[in-house]
């Protein structure tokens, strides 16, 4: 029962069923990723969310093809049944619905870095603002009620449920990524730093490791696997998506020296899709060996 609960409550959501891996090779499902091709999208590859009304950044995936994205300082919600054909992508006059705005003094006028998970009958939406990390709750994923103040000092949260049922959060601490824990997902306490820039010359994450996106699984060996995609920044300022992970509830993350995806930032993952912020829009990618069926004929309603 605990294992089933853990799989449901992964922070970045679980996947869409129209993809297959023809080679049937084992994998941690965390890359390497390839850019979506023109024939795999309704819009212009690799963008899955792009229009002239907003600059879309900071995607966060929930199960069911739902994506929360930052647009014009607010958080909007869009959906794609196939994981790629999102409502609002290039559709004239149609934009994703705003679900959360900055309307508290401590938020400083703009929201960023959302992270959504389901817990019980609620959708918990964590977000970044000027004064720290906030939390909003919703029964339907559309109408949210905010907690009165920040729940933690930091930015770009990503939340998951540990094996013992407690909440865990990876977040930007200004240097790299730290971890916090909570028994009720509202009151959080700092644990320790878990990921830092590698400081290795030439490495894709030499000078930056931020924007964690966590998902968990049980490996075929029965180990609790905490998997994190993050934004790496090299000495030239270029960004790429990295993969770091650990076994078990506690401890620092170990990284893969090879980037999982070589462009973009602020990763969001919903198997098998990776979403990243790229040139003011949201781009999509899939695991290298994934074969996709043609994209859906039309986006779903929001």
């Amino acid at each position: 029962m605990k294992r089933a609960l853990i799989l449901v409550l992964v922070a970045c959501g679980t996947g869409n069923a129209d993809a297959s891996t023809p080679d049937a090779l084992p994998g941690a499902e965390m890359g390497p990723f390839r850019t979506l091709a023109n024939t795999e999208l309704k819009g212009t590859a690799p963008f899955v969310l792009q229009d002239s009304h907003a600059i879309y950044t900071d995607p966060a995936a929930l199960d069911g093809g739902i994506l929360y994205v930052v647009a014009n300082g607010a958080i909007v919600r869009t959906r794609a049944d196939d994981g790629r054909t999102f409502y609002g992508n290039g559709q004239i006059g149609k934009s994703p619905q705003v679900v959360l705005k900055a309307d508290r003094p401590w938020e400083g006028g703009a929201l960023a870095g959302p992270s959504a998970i389901r817990r019980g009958n609620e959708v918990l939406l964590f977000y970044s603002a000027a004064g720290g990390i906030g939390l909003a709750r919703s029964a339907d994923g559309l109408a949210f009620a905010k907690e009165p103040g920040p729940v933690l000092i930091g930015a770009s949260p990503s939340v998951f449920t540990a094996q013992d049922g407690s909440g865990r959060m990876f977040y930007n601490d200004g240097v790299g990524v730290s971890e916090a824990a909570s028994s009720d997902f509202v009151t959080w306490r700092f644990i320790e730093p878990v990921l830092r820039p590698s400081l290795q010359s030439g490495a894709f994450d030499a000078l930056g490791a931020s924007d964690p996106c966590v998902s968990t699984r049980i490996t075929p060996a029965g180990r609790f696997h905490v998997r994190v995609l993050y934004t790496g920044r090299n000495e030239a300022g270029a960004t790429a998506i990295g993969f770091a992970a650990r076994y078990g509830d506690d401890g620092p993350l170990e990284r893969n020296p090879v980037p999982a995806y070589t462009t973009g930032s602020a990763p969001a993952y919903a198997e098998p899709f990776l979403y990243v912020a790229q040139t003011n829009a949201i781009a999509g990618a899939v695991l290298l060996d994934t074969a996709l069926t043609p994209p859906a004929a039309a986006p779903p309603t929001p």
Binding site: G27, P220, A221, H225, L253, E254
Partner: protein, 436 residues
């Protein structure tokens, strides 16, 4: 003269061990007996098991057969889609007495009916059934000479040919990065298959009418795959580009082997055999391609246009050594002459072999998947005058085991793998004389 000739034959260059017989056996009788055949083989199959034993034939010995080996291997519960191996097996032994000395010349082959040879160069972190997928998809051809040194001692050696691949690909022309359809590229391909020879030799000693011993040596060989590619041309009138790639890899490597075998007859109807095969897996060469690349794309006089990022050369790959373990593979066989009439004889055979995987735990970057293998076999034989019909079924079980990766950020991650294969076949032979 007799001993000098024998020595020359014994040391003759050549070979005879290729991959399909290593895995599936060669000929229905020997396969049914668990490949425990170095001291008991004869006819065309001796070209593989012990070239000395071809000299046991004192008449033209012709065989032909067919086998199918179907794999069912899985990783994480998903079919690994390892292709079946099937095809014709056959050969002949032609004896000759020269100056009172008994010789025999033998040829044998496995001719796949789908792929004569297959080459694949995978990244070292790509999971693959290293010993079953690509290596067994190839033609096997052997030719041997056997010699009856004394009435109770036979020696032999042989020649075999496999092929390495050398290929070159040149692409020249003009690439338009603003309008790719307007690119004009020409390509030339030049590929060679180069013959490679390998040594094999054996001896069989008949201690009594009931007991025989054998020793066989098989040299190592590797099939190289060398590819060169050159891309040169103009990019949209902005600049020129030159990309040289040279890839060198080992497409198949079979380590040297040493076999000791024995055969005991218990009474008139039962014979037991064993082979003890030492395999120097520690010499195994990683099949990961070794790449040398040169990329020269000078920037245009005015610099690169906005939005265009020049390509960079691929990062060099550090090939992880495999550190395989040498292994001893025991084979056991049993043959019961269940039917003994004036003109007819019927045989029931069974065998077993266990091959511990030579691969260390793949907890690092590489994922060369293999498992310990238990192979059970059985078969029937029927002999009528010079005609022999043999059938075999072989079931190899590779029990599931889980590979645990040391780095939790490994792209492959933990995986469980295992499976089995089933091999069935028939062999028909005709002997215009007798085997001793």
């Amino acid at each position: 003269l007799k001993r000098a000739l024998a020595l020359a034959v014994f040391l003759a260059p050549g070979i005879a061990r290729a991959n399909p017989p290593d895995t599936y056996g060669f000929g229905s009788r020997e396969t049914a007996m668990g490949n425990a055949a170095a001291a008991e083989t004869g006819g065309f199959a001796a070209n593989y098991y012990n070239p000395a034993a071809i000299a046991r034939s004192h008449g033209l010995d012709v065989s032909a057969g067919y086998f199918v080996a179907a794999h069912s291997f899985e990783m994480n519960g998903r079919d690994s889609k390892v292709d079946p191996v099937r095809g014709f097996v056959g050969g002949l032994v032609l004896p000759a007495d020269i100056l009172g000395q008994h010789f025999a010349f033998g040829v044998a082959m496995h001719l796949p009916d789908e792929q004569l040879s297959r080459v694949r160069a995978l990244k070292q972190d790509t999971p693959r059934w290293e010993l079953y997928d690509t290596r067994n998809q190839r033609l096997y051809l052997a030719a041997n000479i056997g010699y009856e040194l004394w009435s109770r001692i036979w020696i032999g050696g042989g020649l075999a040919f496999m092929s390495s691949t050398t290929a070159r690909l040149d692409i020249t022309g003009s690439a338009n990065i603003f309008a790719p359809d307007n690119s004009q590229l020409r390509h030339e391909v030049d590929a060679d298959l180069t013959a490679v020879r390998y040594p094999q030799a054996g001896i069989r000693i008949k201690l009594s009418d009931d007991i025989a011993l054998a020793a066989v040596y098989r040299g190592q060989f590797k099939l190289d795959l060398d590819l060169k590619a050159r891309l040169a041309g103009d990019i949209s009138g902005l600049t020129s580009a030159l990309y040289d790639l040279e890839s060198t890899s080992v497409n198949a490597f079979v380590p040297q082997q040493f076999v000791l075998g024995g055969s005991w007859a218990f009474g008139k109807r039962v014979r037991a055999t064993f082979d003890w095969t030492w395999i120097e897996w520690s010499a195994y060469v990683s099949p990961t391609p070794r790449l040398q690349t040169t990329l020269d794309v000078p920037p245009p006089p005015g610099g690169w246009p906005g939005g265009i990022t020049p390509p960079t050369a691929p990062a060099p790959i550090t090939i992880v050594p495999l550190h395989l373990h040498d292994r001893v593979v025991p084979h056991l066989g049993l043959e019961w002459k269940a039917l003994a009439l004036a003109d007819h004889a019927g045989f029931v055979r069974t065998g077993y072999e266990v091959a511990k995987s030579p691969f260390p735990a793949q907890s690092g970057v590489t994922s060369f998947v293999d498992r310990d293998r238990h192979t059970f076999s059985a078969g029937l034989g029927w002999a009528w005058r010079g005609v022999m019909l043999d059938a075999h079924v072989q079931v190899a079980v590779l029990p599931d085991a889980t590979t645990r990766k040391a780095n939790p950020a490994d792209f492959t991650g933990d995986f469980t793998a295992g499976g089995h294969f089933i091999n069935a076949g028939l062999t028909a032979s005709y002997l215009f004389g007798e085997r001793r």
